[in-house]
C-alpha cells in the first residue's frame, strides 16, 4: 500500500511552473528521500500534499484519502516545512502547547516530545534564545505531536551538529521500525543515502526517478572511460547519448552513470565502430553522482 500517490500533479505560480505533471508513489512504512536542487519543486510538492497550496491540475492521495479530504488525513500527518516557524517570545513548551491545543492532542504529548528531542531542560526558555539546531529539534517535536502515521520533514538536519545528525538518523529509523512513513527532503544526499529506502528525484518540477533506493544504488554504476583521442571521445559520447545517458566530460576521462549492463553494450558498440582498445572501468556510483547524472541527462 502506498502512503502517498500523485498523478499528473501540477502547480503554477503565475507563469512559473513549480510542479509539472508529477506522478509518484511512496510506499507505506518507508523512509522516502526527496532529492532535488533549489527550485526543483520539493517544497511545493510537500505543500500540495499538506493542503497548503491548491493544485492547478492532477490528483493525489495521502494515507488513502484525496487532497480534497485533508480533514480526514491531516490529523494523522506531522510536518516540518522549510525553516521551523515559532513564536519567538514564547517558550518552546508553550509553542508546542499552542499546537497541541489546536490539534486536540493530549497535553502529556508535549512533555513526551520535548524529551524525545532532548529539549526538556530548555523547554521553559524563549524560543528566540534557541540555537538553529535546537529550533530544528523543536520543529521535529512539533511534527511528532500527533503521533503521525506519515511524517513529512523538509531539511530536518539543517543546523544540526554531527552528533545531532546521527541522533536524527536513529530517531527516523526507530519511527520507520514502528511502521511510520517518513518523507524526508534534504540537500544532504550522503545523509539520505544512509537512511532512505525509497527515493524521489525531482528536477524542474518533474520526477527524474521514483523507486527503491537499493535498486537505484545497486543497479546504477559509474563507467569511467579513458579515450585515446578525440574520435574515441566523440564516439563514446554519441553511443551513451543515444542510449539516453549523460556523459560527464573531464580532461582525460569520461564518466557515465548508468545500469551495470550498459558497460558491455558500450564495449560492444565501440568495438564495432573500431575503438578496440578503449579502457572502461566500472565503479559503484554514489547517490550524488547518480543525481547529477540524471540532472545532466535531463539537460542533454
Amino acid at each position: 500500500m502506498n502512503a502517498i500517490e500523485t498523478h499528473g500533479l501540477t502547480k503554477h505560480f503565475g507563469k512559473q511552473t513549480a510542479v509539472d505533471d508529477l506522478s509518484l508513489s511512496i510506499p507505506a512504512g518507508s523512509i522516502a528521500g526527496f532529492i532535488g536542487p533549489n527550485g526543483a519543486g520539493k517544497t511545493t510538492t510537500l505543500r500540495l500534499l499538506l493542503g497548503l497550496v491548491r493544485p492547478n491540475a492532477g490528483s493525489a492521495t495521502v494515507l488513502g484519502r484525496p487532497l480534497t479530504e485533508r480533514d480526514r488525513y491531516l490529523p494523522r500527518v506531522g510536518a516540518l516545512i522549510e525553516a521551523p516557524a515559532f513564536y519567538p517570545s514564547l517558550s518552546g513548551r508553550t509553542n508546542l502547547e499552542v499546537l497541541a491545543l489546536l490539534g486536540g492532542h493530549r497535553g502529556s504529548r508535549v512533555n513526551d516530545m520535548l524529551e524525545t528531542v532532548d529539549l526538556s531542560d530548555r523547554a521553559g526558555d524563549r524560543v528566540g534564545t534557541y540555537s538553529l539546531g535546537m529550533k530544528q529539534r523543536l520543529g521535529v517535536a512539533m511534527a511528532l505531536l500527533p503521533d503521525p502515521e506519515l511524517l513529512i520533514l523538509d531539511e530536518p538536519a539543517n543546523g544540526l551538529d554531527p552528533l545531532g545528525i546521527v541522533e536524527m538518523r536513529e530517531l527516523l529509523r526507530r519511527l520507520r521500525d514502528r511502521g511510520k512513513t517518513i518523507v524526508l527532503s534534504s540537500h544532504l544526499l550522503g545523509e539520505l543515502e544512509h537512511v532512505a529506502d525509497w527515493l524521489v528525484m525531482l528536477h524542474k518540477g518533474k520526477a527524474l526517478f521514483c523507486g527503491s533506493a537499493r535498486d537505484l544504488l545497486t543497479q546504477r554504476v559509474e563507467l569511467v572511460i579513458e579515450p585515446e583521442d578525440a574520435v574515441q571521445r566523440e564516439l563514446v559520447t554519441r553511443v551513451a547519448n543515444q542510449a539516453g545517458y549523460a556523459v560527464t566530460q573531464e580532461v582525460h576521462t569520461l564518466r557515465i552513470a548508468c545500469p551495470a549492463g550498459f558497460a558491455d553494450t558500450l564495449d560492444r558498440l565501440t568495438r564495432e565502430a573500431g575503438a578496440v582498445d578503449l579502457t572502461i572501468r566500472v565503479k559503484e556510483a554514489s547517490l550524488e553522482q547518480l543525481f547529477l547524472a540524471l540532472v545532466k541527462g535531463e539537460h542533454s
Binding site: L52, V53, R54, D71, L74, S89, L99, L102
Partner: protein
C-alpha cells in the same frame, strides 16, 4: 464547534507574547495620558472654540465620557494595529503553515483565532476606559471638582452607551484589520495600509466627496460612537440607525470576503 473552541483556546495561550501585552499597555497608557491632558486643559482654564463644548459639558452627566472619549481615535488605531498585526504575523513568521496542518478546516481556525483576538482587544478597551475613567474621577475628586453628575444614573447610562457603541466600532475595525491581514499577509503592509486607509485615505475622500464618504467604514464606525456624546466624535448625518446598519453590513462584508479569500488562498509563507 469543537474546532473553533480549540482554535480560540490555542490563541489565548499566545497572548503571553510581550508584543500583544505591550499593545494593550500602550492603549491604556496613551489613552489615560490624553484623558489627563484634556482634564488638565479644562481645569486650568484653557479657552478657545475647540474647548468650549468640552468645558460646557464638563460638569454635566456627559463630562467623564467627554474627557476619556478624547482618546478613542488612539484606541481604534491601536485596535486596528493589534488585530491586523496579530493575524498577519502568522504569515510573516511562517507559523500559519503549522497551524493549518494541525487544523485543516481553515475557516474554523480563523473564526476561533479572530474571536479570541477581538475579545482581547475589547477587554483592552474596557480596561483602558475603566482605568482612565477611574483616574480622571480620582483627579477630579482630589481637586474638589463636583463629580456627582458623572456617577449619577444618566452619567452611568451614557458611559454604558458609549462603551456599547465603542465595542461595535472596535469589532468593525477588527473585521477591517482581518481583511487587510488576509489580503496582505505581511505585518508591515497590513499595519501600514490599515492606518493609511483609516487615518489618511478616508479623510481625503471626506474632503472631496463628503456625501459618499459618510458611508465609508471608518466614518460609520466613528459616527456611531459620536452619536452617544457628540463631543467625542462626529454625529452621524445619516442618523444613528442608518449608521449602525451600515456598520453591521460593513462588518458582515469584511468577514465574508476574508473567509472567501482565506479559504482558497495558497499558503506559501
Amino acid at each position: 464547534m469543537t474546532s473553533v473552541i480549540r482554535a480560540f483556546r490555542s490563541e489565548v495561550l499566545k497572548f503571553r507574547r510581550w508584543t500583544v501585552l505591550a499593545g494593550a499597555a500602550v492603549m491604556v497608557a496613551v489613552s489615560t495620558f490624553i484623558a489627563y491632558l484634556t482634564f488638565h486643559q479644562i481645569v486650568s482654564g484653557a479657552t478657545g472654540s475647540e474647548m468650549s463644548g468640552l468645558i460646557a459639558a464638563f460638569p454635566t452627566s456627559q463630562g467623564l465620557v467627554a474627557v476619556i472619549g478624547q482618546a478613542r481615535s488612539v484606541i481604534l488605531a491601536i485596535a486596528l494595529i493589534q488585530v491586523s498585526a496579530n493575524l498577519a504575523a502568522e504569515w510573516t513568521q511562517g507559523t500559519v503553515r503549522n497551524l493549518l496542518v494541525r487544523e485543516p478546516h481553515r475557516l474554523r481556525w480563523l473564526t476561533g483565532k479572530m474571536l479570541a483576538v477581538v475579545l482581547f482587544v475589547l477587554l483592552s478597551m474596557l480596561l483602558t476606559l475603566v482605568i482612565s475613567g477611574t483616574f480622571i474621577l480620582m483627579l477630579a475628586q482630589g481637586q474638589g471638582i463636583e463629580t456627582a453628575a458623572w456617577t449619577s444614573g444618566p452619567g452611568r447610562r451614557i458611559f454604558v452607551e458609549f462603551l456599547g457603541n465603542e465595542m461595535i466600532a472596535l469589532i468593525g475595525v477588527g473585521a477591517l484589520g482581518t481583511l487587510i491581514a488576509v489580503l496582505t499577509r505581511s505585518v508591515g503592509a497590513a499595519v501600514g495600509i490599515g492606518l493609511a486607509y483609516i487615518l489618511v485615505l478616508e479623510g481625503i475622500i471626506a474632503v472631496v466627496a463628503p456625501q459618499v464618504s459618510r458611508w465609508f467604514p471608518g466614518r460609520v464606525f466613528n459616527t456611531i460612537v459620536g452619536s452617544t456624546v457628540p463631543l467625542v466624535g462626529p454625529n452621524p448625518s445619516q442618523g444613528y440607525t442608518a449608521a449602525m446598519l451600515a456598520s453591521v453590513l460593513w462588518i458582515a462584508g469584511f468577514a465574508v470576503i476574508s473567509a472567501l479569500v482565506f479559504r482558497r488562498q495558497d499558503v506559501t509563507a
